[in-house]
């Protein structure tokens, strides 16, 4: 490694370190001061410990149950997508973008409208099982929370498992059959050992998402319990107890790091499997019973997953009558939000575009610096400090509560301006997606192409500009779009900051939902969904980034 490269790499590392660690340091400093000043852990240690244990138990339990159900729903879909060619296969795989591109608050609204006591499903069920009042609904219970998490995350299982399954050749299973093994044993010997890392990887990812779930638990888990993330929210928003929030956060981070460690190991094994197999299999046309099960699965997904999302569209255009008259369809809800009292929609759209745009730009810049630094540092020395440290920093947003980042930046900003903290915190959450996407696309470039450019007379810089940059630009664009999508749809950080100075679209949606103005919430949700869903236009690239 040349001296110039070293300086550049260490410079890049410093930028990333400051960007990622300074809010954590700022929050920790204030929280520790808070604790020393006597406003810290007011409860006796035993009570405090039992609160943490109760919350941790609930968090782990709901994450495990949600993951198990999500994988159970996703596995048949993964098998169908990996083996058969059928109408809707691509759509099924594209659903993987839903958990990333559609904000949780929108999906929550969809589930309330569809599965709630007054929802569409209960209306249908009442036709078969008697009057609606007998259906009590289970949405606001532990199992309701599990169901919402499972349906929100099962497309990840479909996408990740099928991506591996489609590459696992049949030969090992066939070898087992020719050696006398029955179907089940042949599957256990020839396919399952290769599939398990894929299942474990999808499970690990879903588990982590559920572990950090905030809005969904806040809305649906109320009676059943609170996750650590929700406890942090309560400590920050209602008790201003930073020390307690820090203590919860440390427990959460330790658990998350353990999960991440396991996940990275599993990912290593999955990558090895993918390397071993390489080519994807040819898809077969489903016949007989296979076709029947695919159709049944399709109906199931449409009924229980697409149905709720579609109900948002229907409800957005349903204008309820004020005096018990008939319900009409039209743009009334949108008109109310644009011209009615306080007319919040346009302002919310503008502030979302402004703040999320800024956050996405910041995340892209940081992500590009980190991605390039990681790639070149790894090329120089795979086992060096720089690549290892950047790898760890990339996982940080998945291991630390977004609330801590948000409050950290709030403490760092002069006059504690919430919008600055919002932009910075969201950028910290989003930059790893950009750096990962960039790093992956840099790694995917065949080194021989670079070498060919060099043999044709291009300098390393010119080779990078003419060959590599052209290849990685689409990935950077997709990652930036994705960063915009997740920051625009994020309600966690604004809620944590309790922002009153600006109204973003997810915040407006949350407030309208809390005020039971569901139809207007749907109208706002439709606008938000269109905004964040635009990245669907980039199709597979965005899903890869995700």
């Amino acid at each position: 490694m040349t001296r110039r490269t070293s300086i550049l790499l260490y410079g890049a590392l410093c930028v990333i370190l400051i960007f990622s660690m300074s809010p954590l340091a700022a929050f920790s400093k204030i929280a520790l001061e808070n604790a020393r000043g006597g406003a810290g852990l007011s409860e006796p240690p035993a009570t405090f410990l039992s609160t943490i244990m109760r919350s941790l138990r609930f968090t782990v339990l709901q994450s495990l149950a949600s993951t198990a159900l999500a994988v159970a729903i996703g596995l048949p879909g993964a098998w169908f997508a990996a083996r058969f060619r059928f109408a809707g296969r691509k759509a099924l795989l594209a659903l993987a973008a839903v958990p990333f591109c559609f904000p949780p608050i929108l999906v929550i609204l969809a589930f309330i409208l569809y599965y709630g006591r007054e929802g569409l499903l209960s209306s249908i069920l009442s036709l078969f099982f008697g009057p609606r009042k007998q259906y009590q609904g289970f949405l606001y219970s532990f199992w309701g929370l599990i169901m919402v998490h499972a349906f929100y995350n099962f497309p990840i299982a479909v996408h990740q498992i099928s991506a591996l399954w489609i590459r696992i050749p049949d030969t090992q299973m066939e070898a087992a059959k020719t050696l006398g093994a029955g179907k089940l044993r042949a599957f256990r010997t020839g396919t399952l050992p290769w599939l398990l890392p894929g299942i474990a990887q999808a499970s690990g990812l879903i588990f982590l998402y559920c572990f950090f779930s905030f809005t969904t638990v806040l809305v649906f888990g109320g009676r059943a319990g609170a996750t650590i993330e929700v406890e942090i929210y309560h400590a920050l928003r209602y008790q201003s107890n930073y020390a307690l929030a820090l203590a919860f956060s440390v427990v959460e981070t330790l658990c998350a790091l353990l999960g991440i460690l396991m996940l990275t190991r599993i990912q290593g094994r999955t990558r090895k499997s993918l390397r071993d197999f390489g080519r994807t299999r040819e898809l077969a046309s489903p016949k007989g019973i296979q076709l029947f099960f695919i159709i049944m699965y399709g109906i199931f997904i449409v009924l229980f997953f697409i149905g709720p999302l579609l109900s948002i569209v229907i409800e957005a255009f349903k204008v309820p009558s004020s005096m018990g008259g008939t319900t009409k369809f039209g743009f009334g809800n949108f008109t109310t939000l644009i011209r009615g009292f306080q007319a919040p929609l346009l302002g919310a759209i503008l502030s979302t575009v402004r703040l999320s745009g800024l956050a996405a730009v910041l995340a892209t810049v940081a992500g590009v610096i980190a991605g390039l630094a990681l790639f070149f540092a790894e090329k120089a020395n795979k086992n060096g400090v720089v690549p290892k440290l950047i790898e760890v920093l990339q996982w940080l947003p998945m291991a630390v509560s977004s609330a801590i980042f948000a409050y950290g930046w709030l403490f760092l900003s002069t006059d504690r301006v919430a919008s600055i903290a919002l932009v910075a915190a969201q950028a910290v959450i989003a930059w790893p997606f950009v750096s990962r996407a960039l790093y992956a696309s840099l790694r995917a470039i065949d080194p021989r192409v670079r070498e060919a450019a060099k043999t044709l007379g291009a300098s390393p810089f010119r080779a990078f500009m003419t060959v590599e940059l052209r290849t990685i630009l689409p990935s950077i664009a997709a990652a930036a779009a994705f960063a915009f999508s997740i920051t625009a749809g994020d309600v966690n950080v604004p809620l944590m900051l309790g922002m009153g100075e600006v109204e973003t679209l997810p915040l407006l949606l949350y407030r309208l939902t809390a005020a039971y103005r569901f139809n207007e919430a749907c109208a706002a949700g439709l606008v938000l969904g269109l905004m964040t869903g635009l990245v669907f236009l980039l199709k597979e690239k965005v899903i890869d980034v995700a």
Binding site: P169, D170, T171, Q172, T178, G180, A186, G190, P193
Partner: protein
């Protein structure tokens, strides 16, 4: 007969395969053909890994086409070997005995016996990822043989090996098959490998059997210019015109090389078919020689390359001016290659009495609706 495949048809999308042959116990049949011709599909259909549309497969007299793969008792060595990477070599070899719930002691004994036979005793505790290419091959063979199958199917198992190891493994396989008096079908696209391993050869193209017999039989009667070129059985020249010769019972054949040869009428097996299809002149290697030593009429060929193998066998790679994209190899026997300069032309004399006029395109040995064509060669006993 050990294996009988009758009137078999396999359809995969737009590709269809037809096969009809039988194989005696203890003989090795090689399926030879270019990539995508259906060799592997045929093998998989026999093993029960591919659904058949019609036909019968009998093994030792019993019909097996209705049985699932695991009940057919056929050993299969896959192209990528398909070793179970999560199992040790010992468990890989003993797998078929384990799934048949054989006694543990018996499995251990049998595994040890096979390991000794295949010289892999020291590898029994290793995982497949810790083995070399040749060792993996041996394990795959031992595994397929463990349950003493009635038939061994070998799907290009040597394709991933380098040339010296491939040669060594070829000898090893032949020896094992002969020692065990095993009935086997070996798939390859390598003519040298086919000749080396086969008791008899079936040549396939586009899902059809287009040639069958021993190498000598195929040399004598390749049936088509394509097959002769594919197996480098002799010189194949395009024919531009055929007219009755001046001498009674002869044909004047004008070749693409610009030469007119007088051939006896018997040289053409089916003149009516030749008039429909693109015709070619097949000159077996034994019917031609360089420098006019055959005494007959000749054609000019250009020396492209001297080829000298490690065993000091000299060959010339030749092309015929006027015939595009066609190269053939000509053995020099004991003669020195030094007198033939690359890039120069030489005269090849031809014994026209041994030449054949053939259709360039091969025709299937199976007639539409099933069954072998009446003129299809039946292999002679070796």
């Amino acid at each position: 007969m050990s294996l009988e495949v009758k009137n078999l048809r396999v359809v995969r999308g737009s590709f269809s395969l037809e096969a009809d042959f039988s194989l005696e116990r203890g003989r090795v049949l090689v399926l030879l053909g270019p990539s995508g011709c259906g060799k592997t599909t045929l093998l998989r259909a026999i093993a029960g890994l591919e659904a058949i549309q019609r036909g019968e497969i009998r093994l030792d007299g019993a019909r097996i086409d209705g049985l699932p793969a695991e009940k057919r008792h056929i050993g299969f060595v896959f192209q990528d070997l398909a070793l179970f990477e999560q199992l040790r070599v010992r468990d890989n070899i003993g797998y078929s005995l384990m799934v048949r719930h054989e006694d543990k002691k018996y499995i251990q004994e049998k595994t040890g016996l096979l390991a000794r036979r295949f010289r892999i005793e020291q590898l029994l505790s290793r995982y497949p990822s810790e083995l070399s290419g040749g060792e993996r091959q041996r394990v795959a063979f031992a595994r397929a043989l463990a349950s003493e199958p009635s038939l061994m199917l070998l799907d290009e198992p040597l394709s991933a090996l380098d040339a010296p190891l491939r040669r060594e493994m070829r000898r090893f396989i032949r020896l094992q098959l002969a020692e065990g008096h095993l009935t086997a079908i070996h798939v390859t696209h390598d003519v040298e490998e086919a000749v080396d391993l086969a008791d008899e050869i079936i040549v396939m193209r586009d899902g059809n059997m287009v040639g069958r017999g021993t190498i000598e039989e195929l040399e004598q009667n390749p049936g088509s210019g394509w097959l002769a070129r594919f197996m480098n059985l002799g010189l194949v020249l395009p024919v531009t015109n055929i007219v009755p010769g001046n001498a009674p019972g002869t044909l004047e054949v004008e070749t693409g090389a610009g030469t007119v040869l007088s051939l006896p009428k018997e040289a053409s097996l089916d003149i009516s078919r030749l008039s429909r299809d693109k015709a070619c002149l097949y000159v077996p290697l034994g019917a031609s020689d360089i420098a006019g030593s055959r005494g007959g009429p000749g054609i000019r060929a250009r020396i492209v390359r001297h080829v000298r193998s490690a065993s000091n066998v000299a060959k010339l790679a030749l092309m015929v001016p006027g015939v595009e994209n066609y190269y053939f190899e000509f053995s020099l026997g004991g003669r020195s290659a030094d007198i033939f300069r690359e890039g120069t032309d030489i005269e090849i004399s031809i014994d026209t009495g041994l030449c054949q006029l053939l259709s360039d395109e091969p025709s299937a040995l199976i007639v539409p609706g099933g069954g072998l064509r009446a003129d299809a060669i039946q292999p002679s006993r070796v």
